[in-house]
């Protein structure tokens, strides 16, 4: 038994090495690079044809602006401002979305009560929230926080509602019949079954939140990524817009695909049907 075990662990260490090698090889051979290179060549050609300055900056110039912004540390200053607003607004949205979602998932009355406002909230563009909160609250912190709250809580509420609805009633009934403590039920039954939906809620809500946050900063803020994009727009500096938005988009992609998606996969592992829905 022990021999077999050691052999299998030994094998697994070599397969890990092989897997890493295979993964790296797959990454290098991935055809996605070809597409990126083609797009860059196309972009460079167009910018050369149009004179190489002004409206269509070459990718090299854009990359130079990105480098400047990164090295001077300005990016991190503005990112910090944006992230602070984003996190405050998103925390509030999570709280509100959780309350509304749990209420409408567990009781018919509350489901009907909140149904319309959730549908309306899902469909109104973030622009409306951004403009309204800038007009009403001005350029202070309240504007982005309120815009994020109202734009992203419906997405959180919908996910939580579906999670509550999808809970296994039989198991809950069984825990009651066996008189399992309330705390234990929450910890061992409700939380594990809600967690994948909760993580999906975080991911979709966060995506909406940062987009609305940038939009609010475009219309009314004196710092932050959105403000810098607005500033470059007014200067007619396409390279600035592209540099700031690509950098910020990259940070958000890293947060989404580096942290949120793997977390979802991990917690949805035990439920194949959900992991397929989440993807």
């Amino acid at each position: 038994m022990s021999v077999a075990l050691s052999v299998s662990t030994n094998q697994s260490s070599t397969t890990v090495g092989k897997r890493v090698a295979k993964y790296l090889k797959g990454l290098v051979n991935h055809k996605g690079w070809l597409a990126i290179v083609l797009v860059l060549i196309f972009w460079q050609t167009i910018s050369l044809l149009l004179g190489g300055h002004g409206l269509v900056p070459s990718p090299i110039r854009t990359a130079a602006v990105m480098w400047d912004v990164l090295v001077s540390g300005e990016f991190f200053v503005q990112l910090g401002d944006s992230m602070a607003r984003l996190l405050i607004g998103f925390t509030l949205a999570m709280t509100m979305g959780l309350i509304v979602g749990v209420m409408s998932g567990s009781r018919w009355f509350w489901n009907e009560f909140f149904k319309d406002v959730i549908v309306l909230g899902l469909s109104l563009p973030g622009l409306v929230y951004a403009l309204l909160s800038v007009v009403i609250f001005g350029t202070n912190l309240m504007a982005p926080v309120m815009a994020i709250l109202f734009a992203s809580y419906p997405f959180i509420a919908v996910n939580i509602r579906e999670g509550v609805k999808a809970m296994d009633k039989d198991i809950l009934d069984m825990t009651q019949a066996y008189k399992v403590g309330k705390w234990k039920v929450i910890k061992n039954v409700i939380m594990p079954s809600l967690l994948p939906h909760f993580l999906a809620a975080i991911r979709t809500g966060f995506t909406i939140a940062w987009k609305v946050s940038v939009l609010t900063e475009v219309f009314g803020a004196t710092s932050g990524i959105g403000y810098m994009i607005r500033f470059n727009f007014q200067m007619f500096a396409v390279r600035g817009i592209l540099a700031w938005s690509l950098l910020f988009g990259f940070v958000m992609l890293v947060i989404e695909y580096g942290i949120l998606v793997p977390a979802e996969r991990r917690f949805a592992r035990w439920r194949p049907n959900i992991s397929e829905v989440v993807k």
């Binding site: 409306v128 940062w210 690509l246 992609l253």
Partner: protein
């Protein structure tokens, strides 16, 4: 046999009437009206308390909605926006469907486009709007290009899943029975792809009209987005809310009145697809 004739002739008509009564009862006694009343009351009392131009009463918003509708301004601007949305959306559907089919059927193309599709999914509509306004000014190319860039990835994702979900056994069988290509496309591939295409239409349409509004905010002289921007510049909160609610209402009607029922209808025969949608 007689039992079935009685069943089909008498009971359904009475249950249909009962169903209608039940539906009406459910509709009018639904707590959704309570929500509306609570929100309007709170809003109204707060607006009266604040007495500020920045906090219009619901009545004022309703009045300006009525004024916009009655004077016909709304329909003029809606038409201007709809033309842009439809042109951009059709092109996005076309491009997205082609790329989606390529990605769903060949691994090389799947890898080739994956990075670009993920990047385009992730970038906010704002970027497309700003860059297109700077490139193309107030010409129609600005909203059309922005809509294409913003909404084609959603089409690609849905169509790719549809192509991947095609039943290979059925296609193999039609091959071995030497069924004509046109017939296979018409009777096997299209019906199985249709629900996914409709999901693509719904998703990307929702993105398309939002991006169109954004483009109109930054660079346009007509359209609903321009009117919203106009109200914003005048600090007219009631104008912003009125235009947004009217436009959102029209889009909700298009989505839940046409697109969702069409999807349900065409996905009827596939319970597992219906659930995903």
């Amino acid at each position: 046999m007689t039992a079935t004739t009685i069943n089909s002739s008498q009971i359904p008509s009475s249950t249909r009437g009962r169903k209608l009564v039940l539906f009406l009862k459910q509709f009018f006694l639904s707590p959704r009206w309570l929500f509306l009343i609570v929100v309007l009351t709170l809003w109204n009392s707060y607006a009266i308390f604040r007495q500020s131009r920045l906090m219009p009463t619901p009545l004022k918003v309703g009045m300006s909605m009525w004024k916009i509708l009655e004077s016909g301004v709304f329909f003029e601007q809606l038409a201007a926006s709809m033309v842009r949305i439809l042109i951009g959306f059709s092109l996005a559907m076309l491009i997205g469907t082609i790329i989606g089919i390529l990605m769903g059927s060949r691994k090389t193309w799947d890898q080739f486009f994956s990075a670009i599709v993920i990047l385009c999914l992730a970038l906010p509509g704002l970027i497309y709007a700003l860059v297109c306004v700077m490139f193309f000014g107030i010409s129609i190319l600005a909203p059309v290009t922005a809509i294409i860039a913003g909404s084609f990835p959603f089409v690609v994702v849905n169509v790719r899943e549809g192509v991947k979900a095609l039943d290979k056994d059925l296609i193999d069988m039609s091959n071995s029975y030497k069924i004509g290509r046109g017939k296979v496309v018409r009777q096997v591939i299209l019906p199985s792809l249709l629900p996914f295409v409709l999901a693509a239409v719904r998703n990307s349409f929702a993105i398309a009209w939002k991006i169109c509004t954004l483009v109109e905010v930054f660079g346009a002289v007509r359209g609903v987005g321009y009117m919203i921007k106009n109200s914003f510049d005048q600090y007219a909160v009631h104008g912003i809310i009125a235009w947004a609610l009217l436009f959102g209402g029209v889009m909700l009607i298009i989505e839940y009145g046409f697109l969702v029922p069409a999807e349900r209808h065409l996905a009827r025969w596939r319970p597992q697809v219906k659930q995903v949608i």
